[in-house]
């Protein structure tokens, strides 16, 4: 009798409990409970991730295939590293040109005083928290990573997350004691102030529903070509200037439109990154969290 009573009321009870959870989460009242649960589940998640990765390796039985895969991976890593290095050198070249201009400007204004400022402090992996991706986003409409570095390691909401040297992957959206959730650039709620390396034209790189990136609000009169490198502009203070986002893959230009748009090919494949670097020395100016609207 009592069991039948519970059976009939249990669905409604759990439904109401779930609704309460949703509301409490929005009011941030559940933060400490969530952090406590994450302390329990994060090791389980990591253990399962390791187990799955190792089990996946068993399927590659042919030794030659493994060797070839390793070689391909090695070459791919070299290509990635060289591409990033090439982009960085191009950035330095542009920077040298700018500095020369500034120097000329200073020389022509000898009574003024100038102070050089470096916006971004990139730290080595030994110093900054290196996050390993331990979980993917279970909700198919969101694009987040869970990494194994959190508040205890110095990670805070809004910090930029990079891969492969200087390639921006996303920003920290939520922080637990030893884990953090990283909102990828490809999430539909992600907007990043960006600029084209060649022309210095600015715009906004936004995530699209299909997981691609698109640069919006590029002025019509700015030159825009396939292959142009897209960097963070640092505008708004939410991100450091000069982090690599990707390259222009396709240009959308209409004579009647106010702005141009461009499809961006990310510099790294977000689905395949394993080790990430959180830039902890950068303090975002936007106190209410990243520009994406994600609440801290």
């Amino acid at each position: 009798m009592r069991s039948a009573f519970w059976r009939s009321w249990l669905p409604l009870l759990l439904f109401l409990l779930t609704l309460t959870l949703l509301v409490l989460h929005e009011t941030q009242a559940l933060r400490s409970v969530e952090n406590g649960l994450q302390l329990v589940f994060a090791p389980l998640q990591r253990f399962t991730s390791t187990l799955v990765d190792r089990a996946g390796g068993l399927f590659h039985t042919a030794r030659q295939v493994r060797e070839l895969e390793a070689q391909v991976q090695q070459l791919q890593d070299q290509v990635d590293a060289l591409s990033v290095e090439n982009i960085r050198l191009q950035t330095f070249e542009a920077e040298v040109t700018q500095l020369r201009d500034l120097l000329g400007f200073a020389a022509t204004n000898p009574t003024w005083t100038f102070m050089g400022a470096d916006v971004v402090g990139r730290e080595a992996c030994a110093q900054a928290p290196c996050g390993e991706v331990i979980g993917q986003e279970p909700n198919p409409y969101l694009r987040y990573f869970t990494i194994n570095a959190g508040a205890e390691e110095g990670v805070a909401v809004g910090m930029p997350v990079v891969a492969g040297g200087a390639v921006l992957v996303g920003r920290v959206a939520e922080v637990g004691p030893h884990t953090a959730k990283v909102q990828l650039l490809s999430d539909t709620a992600s907007d990043v102030a960006a600029m084209l390396q060649q022309s210095q034209a600015t715009g906004v790189v936004a995530g699209q529903p299909d997981g691609s990136l698109r640069m919006l609000y590029i002025p019509q009169d700015e030159p825009l070509e396939v292959g142009d490198v897209v960097l963070t502009s640092g505008l708004g203070g939410g991100l450091p200037r000069g982090l690599v986002i990707g390259q222009v893959a396709e240009v959308y230009r209409q004579d009647v439109a106010l702005f141009q748009e461009a499809a961006i090919r990310p510099a790294v494949d977000y689905r395949r990154v394993g080790l990430l670097l959180v830039i902890t020395s950068f303090q975002p100016l936007v106190e209410e969290g990243p520009e994406t609207g994600v609440q801290p």
Partner: protein, 177 residues
Amino acid sequence: MLSLYITIPLVTAFALLQDVLLSRVSLLGARPDLLFLAVVCWALLRGSAEGVVWAFIGGLVLDLFSGGPMGGLTLAYVVVAFLAGRQWGRELGSAAFQSLLLGLGLCFLFHVLLLLVLTWAGHPVAWAHSLAAIAAPSAVLNGVLAPFAHWVLRWLDRRTRPEGLVFDVRQPRYRSR
């Protein structure tokens, strides 16, 4: 009801596998959802109450790993588990066919609920693209996978059902031998 000592580790394992392994898989936009299949098929076999318990536990674990609002996935799983455990469509054919139909329809509803929760939470949602490119293919894939999941869980159902009780597929209620 299946003991919570079995339910919690089992459903947590399903959720962990879903998060770590199956979230990486995408077939033309379709994503297999192990927890959804388990919840729907278990509700089909054991009724709404047990299905909802599985949905609540598994949904909470996945919500912990998600960047979305806490309770969003749980809510969607709880609703589809409740509906799967109702007595609808029992006369349509075999249990496998029923699970296929339920998997198809409820998976689409599950995705609609996810999108509604995201919209409520203020996350930008491209409805047309999301329904056409993710929800519909996922519904087809999980509908096709549902009979297999049902077959596996029916084995578990038989092994864990209390002694002296049998299960009638056409009339899914307990009755004495």
